[in-house]
């Protein structure tokens, strides 16, 4: 076995952005959402991802803006840490180690220095029971802090963060779980519990789904499984509580939110309609229908200008007023990916089922949906139990000029409807255009489809194998500009073997051989003459996967069978070269190298083996890649080759391996070197020891200690170093006026530089080089040169910084204090500090 400590399974790209409720920042310009192992910061106006806050080592389960500083945010994760970020610059400020997996996080302005997290009950890990604990975040300057002070607030809460909410200024917290609502008043330290019956007589289902609390009044809104919303009042009495019922939703209410002033209540569910209830007149409602998919979360910006809804199809819709203003679309992975994962050779985008009846082209590099291609071209009717056309197979030819899709619809009583569609790439529109539709290409379901991967010929060959016992070869021809008649697609050959059902088909790399597996028999054909060259068989079980070796190993044909056998045939001798017993769920050849990846299902989890057919030892193996069976994976070619010298990670040099886990998470493998490269590009917090002991620092330091020591240092370090002294002024004067930041920004810096006079010589000396570099960078940046995207986040943050004054404005009292300090003779102070 090969040592592989430096290769990790990570989520990169295509992760869910609808997992948790998104957060809109105070100025409504940014939107934060948990996405896989990181937090993504989107711009609400341009829909671009501004930063990706990386650092968590497990799924991020919650993001909240720090109540005392609206430019910082907490995120929590299953890895047991809470991280504090400066999200405008994308800097990790602090990490609090809690030690338990955190399922959600809640904060309120009422509780300073305390965050509330949901953790699973410590005593018994097997039962799914969660509790709400208050975590007292220690005040210290370290970057990594242990937070030992935990105190349980409510036991038996729901792990759904939507079921816990702070009420009116944080005076109470309401938690709904199952059939009871619990309200805990912090001042009185008293809990009130309210229970509902499971079902009402009229068939209503009373299970609580979500909770929202009115920001001004003592009113809690709860959403229920049968679509009812209850508004609870008087809940500070165990008996005289009361509620009123609103009912519009026909299905469970999945999320609710009050607007910041409490005038409206927003609710949403599977109907994909955002309902806006007037709080004072609940009979009046506004609707925002046709949002595309079931609403899973609703959030409103603190100023009430924007609201956003997360949807089940991995989408966040940003709504201004009652109009959709922006849509952030992530990778759509429904319950099943029938088309398998594909890579478009032209755009290098990942192709798979997206919206119903569509194919999505998802750029892994930019982590962005490129476009959706409507394959079925029929209206999608959302109705339970209605059978729709589904795209079940996709294939691309080597150059990316042709794409073939198969769609099918199976109705209960009617016959199977099958369509084979061929799409040609149109250079002008830069997208695929429907070329040919073949209705009913086979009499039964198509089990496999592949293009001949040999490049550069006028015609392309497509093979489709079907359950009707035949495989067909289709000859595709691109019409010359002049000729406009004649078919561009012809059925060239229909093959069968002893009436058996073909299951897999595969072309060799040079296109000279075609292997088709008929149950337990593999037949090898010559596409040029349609001659059956050889039959290989490994009874008794059917072949599951077929794969030709490439490059130096092109004489080998690999196959897996249902009885857990991996066989390798030598095509020259037509004999079995070797075989081994493994339960392989997926066999995949790297198109650029001779490596073959095999996902092997073993004891509930999947192991990965990467091997060359010619070598007995695997190149790489990793145990327990993920739990469950892996059935979809793809090798995505890298744009720039990685130069890894380590033997175990060399297989990742040319292409990257992506796979879908059972719970439809897109995962990939990364090497240590790659990770380090990535980390280097993202900004790290610099602890600046050499901050001068000025009265200004003392003042600010004292002031900031109140909220968070780390936050203060983080911010001061995150800011670009101040131009100091005459050198800085010179620099300032030398730069052309049109590239300078706004005057207000410079002014404060300038004044500050003048304020500092004693004891800062040291710091000035120690940092000039860095300053120089930074300011150069800024110049370069503001001149608007486009760089490679590797330094993108940094650039974005810099641009942002120059656009908005990052320094928190001083209050009047602080200014007064500052003036007073300035007048004082503070030499004694420095003396005191030095001693």
């Amino acid at each position: 076995m090969v040592e592989h400590g430096d290769i990790r399974v990570v989520r990169r790209g295509g992760s869910k952005i609808n997992f948790r409720q998104p957060v809109i920042t105070n100025d409504s310009r940014l939107l934060l959402c948990a996405s896989g192992h990181s937090v993504k910061v989107f711009s609400t106006s341009t829909e671009e991802c501004v930063h990706e806050l990386r650092g968590h080592t497990d799924l991020v389960t919650g993001v909240v803006v720090k109540p005392s500083n609206h430019l910082q945010a907490y995120s929590c994760s299953l890895d047991g840490t809470i991280r504090l970020w400066d999200f405008t610059d994308g800097i990790l400020i602090k990490t609090y180690d809690i030690g338990y997996s955190i399922y959600s996080i809640h904060t309120s302005a009422f509780h300073k220095g305390v965050v509330f997290t949901v953790t699973s009950t410590i005593s018994d890990k097997k039962s799914e029971s969660f509790q709400l604990v208050a975590v007292h975040l220690p005040q210290s300057g370290d970057q990594l802090v242990k937070a030992p002070e935990l105190s349980a607030v409510i036991s038996d809460v729901s792990s759904n963060p939507g079921a816990i909410v702070f009420g009116r200024g944080g005076e109470y917290i309401a938690s709904a779980n199952g059939l009871h609502l619990e309200v805990f008043f912090f001042k009185k330290q008293k809990t009130y519990r309210f229970f509902l019956k499971k079902d009402t007589k009229t068939g209503g289902k009373n299970t609580f789904m979500c909770v929202a609390a009115h920001p001004k009044d003592d009113c809690i809104a709860t959403g229920h499984e049968d679509g009812k919303i209850r508004l609870w009042r008087n809940f500070n009495h165990q008996k005289e509580y009361t509620y009123s019922t609103l009912h519009w939703h026909s299905n469970a209410v999945s999320s609710m939110c009050f607007t910041p002033e409490g005038t409206n209540l927003l609710s949403g569910g599977v109907e994909s309609v955002l309902v806006q209830w007037r709080y004072n007149d609940v009979s009046q409602r506004d609707f925002l229908p046709r949002l595309g998919a079931a609403i899973t979360h609703i959030a409103v910006s603190p100023d009430g200008a924007l609201s956003c809804t997360s949807h089940s199809d991995n989408k966040i819709t940003i709504i201004q007023g009652i109009k959709v203003s922006a849509v952030l679309q992530g990778l759509v992975t429904g319950e099943s990916v029938e088309t398998d994962l594909m890579v478009d050779p032209r755009s290098k985008a990942l192709v798979l089922n997206g919206k119903p009846g569509h194919l999505q082209f998802y750029s892994l590099k930019r982590d962005k949906l490129l476009y959706n291609l409507d394959i079925v071209q029929q209206e999608y009717i959302h109705e339970l139990g209605l059978q729709q056309f589904k795209v079940v197979k996709v294939a691309f030819d080597a150059s990316g000029n042709w794409m073939a899709t198969v769609e099918e619809r199976k109705q209960k009583d009617a016959e199977q409807e099958l369509n084979l569609k061929l799409w040609a790439f149109d250079e002008q529109t830069q997208s695929f255009v429907l070329n040919t539709t073949v209705a009913d290409p086979h009499e039964s379901r198509i089990t496999a489809m592949c293009f001949c991967q040999a490049a550069a010929s006028q015609t392309t060959m497509l093979i489709s194998a079907s359950e009707d016992g035949h495989f067909k070869a289709w000859q595709l021809r691109r019409l010359a500009p002049g000729e406009d008649d004649g078919p561009s697609c012809l059925c060239d050959f229909v093959g069968a073997y002893r009436g058996l059902v073909p299951h897999c088909c595969c072309f060799s790399a040079d296109g000279s051989l075609l292997a088709v597996s008929f149950q337990e028999v593999v037949t090898v054909w010559s596409p040029a003459s349609w001659e059956l060259l050889a039959t290989l068989s490994q009874p008794p079980k059917a072949i599951r996967n077929l794969c030709f070796g490439r490059l130096s190993c092109s004489k080998y044909l690999l196959g897996t069978t249902d009885d857990h056998l991996l066989c390798c045939w030598n095509l020259l001798t037509c004999s079995l070269e070797w075989s081994t017993s493994m339960d392989i769920s997926l066999l995949l050849g790297d198109p650029l190298t001779e490596n073959i990846a095999a996902f092997c299902c073993h004891a509930g989890s999947t192991d990965l083996f990467v091997f060359k057919p010619s070598e007995p030892r695997p190149v790489f193996s990793l145990k327990a890649v993920c739990s469950g069976k892996v059935t979809h994976a793809v090798f995505a070619p890298r744009e720039e080759m990685l130069e890894s010298c380590e033997e175990s990670s060399q297989w990742l040099n040319h292409s990257q391996l992506y796979f879908l886990t059972q719970c439809m998470d897109l995962m990939t493998f990364t090497t240590k070197a790659e990770e380090e490269k990535l980390m280097a590009s993202s900004k790290q917090l610099l602890i600046d020891d050499s901050v001068a002991m000025t009265p200004f620092y003392l003042l600010l330091g004292k002031h900031r200690k109140g909220e968070s020591g780390a936050a203060a240092s983080g911010e001061s370090a995150g800011r670009p170093p101040l131009p100091q002294g005459s050198g800085a002024v010179k620099e300032l004067l030398r730069t052309p006026a049109h590239v300078l930041p706004s005057t207000s920004f410079l002014c404060s810096m300038f004044v500050k530089s003048l304020l500092v006079s004693v004891g800062d010589a040291r710091s000035v000396e120690s940092k000039p080089a860095e300053e120089e570099m930074e300011s150069e960078k800024e110049e370069e940046d503001s001149e608007g040169d486009m760089e490679s995207s590797a330094s993108r986040p940094e650039r974005g943050s810099l641009a942002r910084r120059s656009a908005e004054p990052a320094a928190p404005p001083l209050t009047k009292a602080q200014l007064r204090e500052l003036r007073r300090v300035k007048k004082l003779d503070h030499s004694w102070l420095t003396g005191l500090l030095r001693s």
Partner: protein
């Protein structure tokens, strides 16, 4: 005429060994149709609810005694009562005939009627002191009547307004009175009679803009808040001092017809045409603040039609309307959960029997408000299998439909067991008929004794030789009947000071005893030979709902409104041993939780240990020889017993054999030929005869 053919079915119980088998006449041709509820008023002092129906009937429910319908009386003529009002223990009504009526609750008749001279009266309201009665008239006047000891006297008119006065409400201080009119609300100073404020109520949106809005109901609270409900579907909250609108709650597209405020003014309910009742509560918006708001909270939907009348008691919301049911919905924040008090109650049928069965002749007499129907039961000679229906040899026949004379309602009727006599009484007259020749011919007995006054309850003796008629002051008139004449025999009087009307009469089979029960819960037993009081059963705190004297043992079985059963030996003048045992052990909790009273008690002549009782949802054969059900036993065990093997049945069976196969029962009686008559009136049949409700959009239709 015959809507449902009689289904004579051989119905065999599981306790076949002990009691043999019954032939059951399943009667469904009694087209009883209750009347819509018009008005309702609750008196917290006496815990009585007075209810007026559209046909002019007034019913009094005793809420402290298990919601028992104590008294039923009819107005003088068939006029709709529009409004009701309690003044202390006195009950006043006003109607569209323009008259105010006070009722004599002891003799169940109107005491006097005063013409208001203002056209139809829409509303009546008394001030909290109980001294002044205000009525709102069609001509736009509010008329004040002074309440005197024996009558009421017109005092004066308030300022006359244009348009009718629909609703009135006194301020608790008695100085102000608010009147709901068309398109507006007026506030009057009760002392000067001047209108001080005029609150304009806006009309509905859209097409109904041109329609005048009717302020159907109004409430004046002690903090000078006025709450109004109107025909545009709004409940509005006004500041009565400044005459400004505070809040509008649009609760329906249709009319809001009724309002009722709780005694402590912390909660109010509004009834709509959609059949919903919406509750509003006076709640502070945050925990620590004192200022409160009226917030819409719960919605109850217990009616299919308009909610015309509402009453907010301390613990419950009582509502009634077009669908004729009285619904008592307890507020769960006021009562203990999962108890008898927290269960919702619906009163669909009257708590007295409207069916009289001639046991010997096989005849049924059905009492309607305006006529009587006499039916002969069908016959069958075949034998069928258990539970199956029998071939009908002769179908049931409607022999007589007897229309009342005059305009008064029939308040009681009786048929003699031999089928030879028929008697009925209205509030003003009494009539007796002789039926002959297989009931085909009927002739009125013209010569009646003078002492036979209009009665509250009628009863024939078993041998049809005597008629008992209960009249005023708890007395019972006894009349001897024969072919030639009917002779007054005497009046049975209870002790002095007993004034409540007798509502139950029961004569023993041997003709020796007569038991009477009145609404003061007293049960008297008279010796008919001596025409004297024999004994008085110890008074129990709940009203008797049904009673009967056992034909052989002369034990009096009395069932009370709180579902207790007593057996009293008339010979020994004490409770029987079985009754003591029953009281000692207590009745099964399921038995006590039933919400309809037992309305009839009969016995099985073949087995003296059997008592047959029924309520609306079941009938029960109480076998005194079997052990009583204990708390751990299942009360409704007949289905379970049927599935058990024979020897185990004895172990599990208990004295209460309950049959729920027949539903919505009006009468269960045992004929002389040992066949059971079951008169059903399915509630669905009643619902299907109601007018169509207001159209509502239902989801997914």
């Amino acid at each position: 005429q015959v809507k449902h053919p009689v289904i004579s079915l051989r119905f065999v119980f599981i306790f076949i060994v002990q009691m043999g088998e019954f032939k059951v006449h399943r009667v469904r041709f009694f087209d009883y149709m209750p009347s819509a509820i018009r008005a309702m008023v609750f008196s917290t002092r006496t815990e009585r609810l007075a209810l007026a129906r559209a046909d002019g009937a007034l019913e009094i429910f005793n809420f402290s005694d298990n919601y028992f319908q104590e008294k039923v009386m009819y107005g003088p003529r068939r006029v709709a009562v529009e409004a009701l009002c309690w003044v202390g223990p006195r009950l006043f009504s006003a109607g569209l005939n323009g008259e105010i009526t006070e009722y004599d609750l002891e003799n169940l008749r109107p005491r006097y009627t005063v013409e208001a001279y203002g056209g139809p009266i829409w509303t009546i309201s008394v001030n909290s002191q109980g001294t002044l009665l205000a009525v709102g008239c069609e001509d736009g006047t509010v008329k004040m009547f002074e309440v005197l000891k024996e009558r009421i006297q017109f005092q004066r008119n308030l300022d006359r307004q244009k348009g009718r006065i629909i609703s009135l409400s006194w301020h608790p201080s008695g100085t102000l009175i608010a009147a709901g009119m068309m398109d507006m609300i007026r506030i009057f100073d009760a002392e000067t009679g001047r209108a001080t404020h005029r609150l304009l109520v806006d009309r509905g949106a859209g097409a109904s803009k041109s329609k005048e809005v009717v302020v159907w109901s109004i409430a004046f609270l002690s903090d000078h808040t006025i709450i109004s409900s109107d025909s545009a579907g709004k409940v509005q909250i006004w500041d009565g001092l400044n005459g400004t609108l505070i809040r509008t709650h649009l609760i329906t597209k249709w009319d809001v017809l009724a309002l009722s405020v709780s005694q402590d003014e912390s909660s109010l309910v509004a009834g709509t045409s959609e059949g919903t009742v919406v509750q509003f509560q006076f709640i502070s918006s945050t925990v620590d603040r004192l200022d409160k708001d009226w917030v819409r909270t719960r919605t109850f939907k217990n009616h299919s039609h308009d909610v015309r009348a509402l009453a907010h008691t301390e613990t419950a919301v009582v509502s009634g309307g077009m669908d004729t049911q009285l619904v008592v919905r307890p507020l769960l924040d006021k009562v203990e959960k999962n108890t008898r008090e927290s269960a919702m109650r619906k009163v669909s049928f009257p708590h007295r029997s409207l069916v009289c069965c001639a046991k010997k002749a096989g005849l049924l007499l059905f009492q309607f408000p305006d006529h009587l129907e006499l039916w002969r039961l069908g016959e069958s000679d075949g034998y069928g299998k258990l539970g199956g229906s029998l071939p009908v040899k002769r179908g049931p026949e409607k022999l007589i439909q007897l229309k009342r004379k005059g305009e008064d309602h029939i308040c009681c009727s009786a048929l003699s067991p031999c089928g030879g006599w028929l008697a009925y009484s209205t509030v003003t007259s009494f009539r007796l008929y002789r039926l002959q020749n297989g009931s085909i011919s009927i002739c009125k007995v013209s010569k009646l004794p003078k002492d036979l006054l209009p009665a509250h309850q009628l009863c024939f003796s078993t041998n049809s030789s005597k008629l008992f008629a209960s009249s005023s002051n708890s007395s019972v008139v006894v009349v001897a009947l024969n072919e030639l004449e009917c002779k007054y025999l005497g009046t049975l009087k209870a002790k002095y000071g007993c004034r409540q009307p007798v509502h139950q009469l029961s004569a023993s089979d041997n003709g020796k005893w007569l038991a009477t029960a009145n609404t003061d819960c007293e049960v008297h037993v008279y010796n008919l030979d001596k025409l004297k009081l024999h004994c008085t059963v110890p008074v129990y705190g709940s009203c008797p709902t049904a009673m009967a004297i056992h034909p052989t043992t002369s034990n009096l079985v009395v069932v009370h409104a709180d579902q207790q059963i007593f057996e009293y030996s008339l010979v020994k003048k004490e409770y029987t041993e079985w009754s003591r045992r029953l009281q000692k052990q207590g009745l099964h909790s399921m038995w006590l939780e039933r919400d309809t009273p037992i309305t009839h008690v009969t016995f099985n002549p073949k087995n003296p240990a059997h008592i047959i009782v029924h309520d609306m949802f079941m009938f029960c054969i109480i076998d005194k020889s079997l052990p009583l059900p204990e708390a751990k036993n299942v009360l409704y065990n007949q289905m379970a017993l049927r599935s058990l093997p024979e020897p185990d049945r004895v172990l599990h069976s208990h004295g209460f054999k309950i049959c729920k196969d027949f539903q919505h029962l009006l009468c269960v009686s045992l004929l002389e030929d040992h066949s059971l008559v079951v008169v059903e009136r399915p509630l669905l049949d009643i619902v299907s005869q109601l007018p169509a409700p207001v159209r509502q959009k239902k989801f997914a239709t």
